[in-house]
C-alpha cells in the first residue's frame, strides 16, 4: 500500500485533520437545526484552511498560489453544499 510521503512525515497533522472531518460529519448528520449545521460546516472549513496554512508554513512552501488553491477548493466544496437542493440551511 502506497502511503504518501507527506503523511509519513507529518502523521499527527493528518490524523487531526481526519478526526475533524469525521467529528464534523457526525455532528452534521445528528443535528437537525439549520443554524447549527452552518456553524459545523463553517467550523470544519475554517479549520481546514487554518490547517493548510500551518501545514505549508511548517513545510516552508507557503506561497500565494497555494493559498489561492486552498481557497478555491474550499469555495468549490461550499458552493456545492450551499447550492445542494437537499441541504437544510
Amino acid at each position: 500500500m502506497i502511503i504518501p510521503k507527506e503523511i509519513k512525515q507529518k502523521p499527527v497533522e493528518y490524523v487531526l485533520l481526519s478526526l475533524i472531518f469525521i467529528i464534523g460529519f457526525f455532528l452534521y448528520i445528528f443535528t437537525n437545526n439549520s443554524q447549527s449545521r452552518i456553524w459545523i460546516v463553517s467550523g470544519v472549513t475554517f479549520f481546514y484552511f487554518g490547517w493548510s496554512l500551518y501545514h505549508h508554513y511548517k513545510r516552508g512552501d507557503l506561497h500565494t498560489s497555494i493559498i489561492i488553491e486552498y481557497l478555491l477548493i474550499i469555495l468549490f466544496g461550499l458552493v456545492f453544499l450551499l447550492f445542494d437542493p437537499f441541504a437544510i440551511f
Binding site: 485533520l17 498560489s65 458552493v79 447550492f83
Partner: protein, 292 residues
C-alpha cells in the same frame, strides 16, 4: 490515418487535463485554479438554467414524487407500532381538511401553519365539520419518497410529538401536487385529531388494515400525470458527476505523484480529497425536502 490522428488528439487532451505529466508541470490541468474556477462557473450556470426552466416552463422539468397518502399512513402507523402505541385510524373527514389546507397554501402561495389571511389549522378542521377534543398538523414539501419524509418528521421533536401522541386517535392525509412560489412541488399535510364525541370503542371497531386511502391527489395546476424529470434530481446528478470527476482526478494525481516521488509547489492532494469527501458525504446525507 485520420482515426489515429483523432485518437492521438483525444489522448493528448485527456492526459493533459486529467493526468499529471511534465507537459502540465506534473499537475492535472483540471486541478489548476483556472479550471477549478471554470467548473464552479459551469456548476452555477447549470443550476441557474435548471431553476429558470423550473420557473418558466414547469411542464419541462416537473416534480415527480413517489409519495402517496396510503404510504404516509402506513409509515406513520409503523412508527407508532414500533413504540407500542395504537395505530391511528384513517379519517376521510380529516383528509378532506388536510386537502383543503394544501389547496389553500397553493392558492394563496404560502408555506406555514397559519395563512396570511389569518386562517389557522383549526379553521380547516371546522370547515369540514370535524369536532375534535384535540388536534394537530404536520406539513412537508419537496420530498421524493415517504421513507425520507417520515424520517425527517421523526427527527424533528415537534413533528414526532404529533406522530406518537397517544391523545390522537384519527389521521387524515393529503398529498397534493401544485406550484408554490413558481416552483412545482408536492405538499404533504397530516391532520391528527380525536373526535369530540367518539368513544374508544367506536374507533377501535374500525379496521385500519382494510382501509384504502386515496392515492396522490393532483392539484389543478399540474397539467398532466406524465412522469417528469425532477429538477432536484437533475441538479443532484449534475453536482455528483462534477464532484466524482474531481475526486477521481485528485486520486489519479495523488497516486502518480506519490509513485513517481514528484515534489510540486501545490496544496496537499490528500487534504483536498479529505475535505471534498467530507462535503460529498454531507451532500449524500442531506435530508430531502423541508418540514413545517
Amino acid at each position: 490515418m485520420k482515426i489515429i490522428y483523432t485518437d492521438s488528439v483525444l489522448k493528448k487532451f485527456l492526459t493533459h487535463y486529467f493526468i499529471p505529466q511534465p507537459k502540465n508541470n506534473h499537475r492535472a490541468t483540471v486541478l489548476k485554479p483556472n479550471c477549478l474556477l471554470f467548473l464552479l462557473v459551469l456548476y452555477l450556470l447549470s443550476q441557474s438554467i435548471i431553476k429558470s426552466f423550473t420557473i418558466a416552463k414547469p411542464g419541462i422539468l416537473g416534480y415527480s414524487s413517489e409519495i402517496t397518502a396510503q404510504k404516509v399512513l402506513d409509515q406513520t402507523n409503523i412508527e407508532r407500532i414500533k413504540l407500542g402505541l395504537e395505530p391511528l385510524v384513517y379519517s376521510s373527514v380529516l383528509s378532506e381538511s388536510a386537502k383543503e389546507k394544501a389547496d389553500d397554501m397553493f392558492i394563496n402561495n404560502y408555506w406555514a401553519h397559519n395563512s396570511p389571511q389569518g386562517k389557522t389549522p383549526w379553521t380547516f378542521f371546522d370547515a369540514v365539520g370535524y369536532k375534535y377534543s384535540t388536534a394537530g398538523e404536520n406539513l412537508a414539501k419537496d420530498f421524493y419518497n415517504t421513507d425520507s419524509l417520515v424520517k425527517a418528521w421523526m427527527n424533528s421533536p415537534t413533528h414526532k410529538e404529533n406522530i406518537i401522541n397517544t391523545k390522537y386517535k384519527e389521521i387524515g392525509i393529503a398529498v397534493v401536487n401544485g406550484t408554490l412560489g413558481d416552483i412545482k412541488t408536492t405538499l404533504v399535510v397530516q391532520h391528527f385529531g380525536t373526535p369530540l364525541m367518539a368513544t374508544a370503542q367506536e374507533i377501535i371497531s374500525q379496521k385500519t388494515d382494510d382501509i384504502v386511502v386515496p392515492t396522490t391527489q393532483t392539484n389543478v395546476l399540474s397539467e398532466s400525470d406524465e412522469k417528469l424529470i425532477s429538477p432536484l434530481t437533475l441538479s443532484k446528478i449534475f453536482s455528483s458527476v462534477i464532484f466524482i470527476v474531481l475526486m477521481i482526478v485528485l486520486f489519479i494525481d495523488g497516486f502518480i505523484t506519490v509513485k513517481n516521488n514528484i515534489y510540486r509547489l501545490t496544496g496537499s492532494t490528500v487534504g483536498h480529497i479529505g475535505f471534498l469527501f467530507f462535503i460529498f458525504l454531507l451532500m449524500i446525507f442531506n435530508q430531502q425536502g423541508s418540514i413545517f
